[in-house]
Amino acid sequence: MITAGCDVGSLTAKAVILKDGAIVASEVIRAKTKPEDSAREVMDLALKKAGLEMGAVEYCVGTGYGRKHIPFVNDVESEIACHGRGAVWQVPSAKTVVDIGGQDCKAIRVDESGNVTRYVYNDKCASGTGRFLEIIAEALDIGLEELGDISEHSTKKLTLSNQCVVFAETEIISLVNEGAEIPDIIRALHNAVASRAASLAKSIVVESDVVMSGGVAKNAGMFRALSEALGVPLRQIGDPQINGALGAALLAADKLKSGPPPPLRQAQCNARREA
């Protein structure tokens, strides 16, 4: 049985191909302006890696921000359901999933079979998301991949006061001007984002084991900061960024077991807003 999951996020697009309960290929690319283009490209790459044709995929589930525009899915699921499912597959004892992606941050509680029992999104504003990290990394001219390592070298505790992403940038620049050390700033940045995510998670009551998913989990500094803010150890998963796509592929397999696939969904293209 071959199924696929395609997760078109705000920053990246991800695809996972699953064969008889094992991942045969996965791929991550930067998202393009049009979600359908991202979807096609990432799926093609993943299929190529797996040495398969699209026709071989028996069921495909789309998820993520751009899910309604993926041209080749049989069904769509929300990221919440996918991240929950994916996390439980990777860590069967998982009870709570904290997913920090490019544009939002969510905390999800799941039961043993990966069904979502409660969830919350980030409230108020965009602080507490991967976007926050991106903007600052860009301002400081540091690659996203380096953030984690750099924060390891922090020696002094700093705090950021601004909750607004855009203003935090100014604040950070003024910290640099005042001679603060970059590692300390990055660490403070991690703590700020982690603290927002942690209060979100705590509001639905955190139960161990806790899994961190989403692209931001690849940042070791964030991983540690979140664990500290939550006050519990986090469970590491293979590639946290593909967790959503993996969940989608798993859900596709579930659906396939319960009946024949529906025809491909028409992507919503010209749904001009209702007047």
Partner: protein, 263 residues
């Protein structure tokens, strides 16, 4: 007598060189991480163009976000006062100034002598600033100039959930994906911006003539929506680039402080 004004803003840095109250040259660069570097560079470029050396500058006033960090200035004045002064020079009948810069927007009322008598700023949240427009222009894949022009062609402007720049961006992407014409989105973006600004302007009390300064003054979409919302005509500035208003004001202050009379 040669004087200079230097305005280091959050996004752009500007410098104006003035001789006896006339602008010799000006320069505009993108601001760097360190304000003193921006100041040095923009001054250098303005001086070069004017064919003047730093030594010839009798007095220099610094303003803007990085005003306290510049090395070569004689005095620092806030951008509120400088924009007021600069606006009066750009539009001698101005009694009110609306300045939208990169990270904040301000509304001020002037007295007959061009002094700021009342002002309000918005700097709690990035929505409602030039930065907001930049982010939106990037998402729409158009230039800032185009963003301004496009809204004139809009049929049915969208309403933007404008509470947050970052989320408004997500909203714009969603509309793009739904194939909403880009003009309608652009108009929605400009409307959101203008209506935030209108609240600020109305709360200091609108008085004619209104002069718009700062980079966003060059966005005609915002300016004309603002006209509609405020119910006044906003005179388009021809005398000089309105984005330079702060630096011009600073130079005028320098001129006065160095003993030059008012022109």
């Amino acid at each position: 007598m040669i004087v200079a004004g230097c305005d280091v803003g959050s996004l752009t840095s500007k410098a104006v060189i003035m001789r006896d109250g006339r602008i010799l040259n000006s320069a505009l660069i993108k601001s760097k991480a360190k304000p003193w570097e921006s100041a040095d560079e923009v001054m250098k470029s303005a001086l070069e163009g004017a064919g003047v050396s730093m030594k010839e500058i009798v007095f220099c006033v610094g303003t803007g976000y990085g005003r306290d960090k510049m090395k070569f200035i004689n005095e620092a004045v806030t951008e509120i006062a400088c924009h007021g002064k600069g606006a009066r020079w750009l539009l001698p009948t101005a009694m009110m100034v609306i300045d939208i810069g990169g990270q904040d927007c301000k509304a001020m009322r002037l007295d007959r002598d061009g002094r700021v008598v009342k002002f309000m700023t918005n700097d709690k949240c990035a929505s409602g600033t030039g930065r907001f427009l930049e982010v939106m222009a990037r998402v729409l894949g158009v230039s800032l100039e185009e963003l301004g022009e496009m809204s004139a062609r809009a049929q049915a402007p969208i309403t933007l959930a404008s509470a947050c720049t970052v989320w408004a961006q997500a909203d714009v992407i969603a509309h793009l994906n739904n194939r909403v014409p880009i003009e309608d989105i652009a108009a929605g973006v400009n409307n959101a911006m203008a209506s935030r600004m209108a609240v600020l302007a109305n709360s200091v009390g609108v008085e004619r003539d209104v002069c718009m300064t700062g980079g966003v003054a060059k966005n005609d979409g915002v300016v004309s929506t603002l006209e509609k919302l405020l119910g006044v005509r906003i005179k388009r500035i021809r005398r000089y680039d309105p984005q330079m208003a702060g630096a011009i004001g600073a130079a005028l202050f320098a001129h006065e402080k160095a003993g030059g009379g008012l022109r």
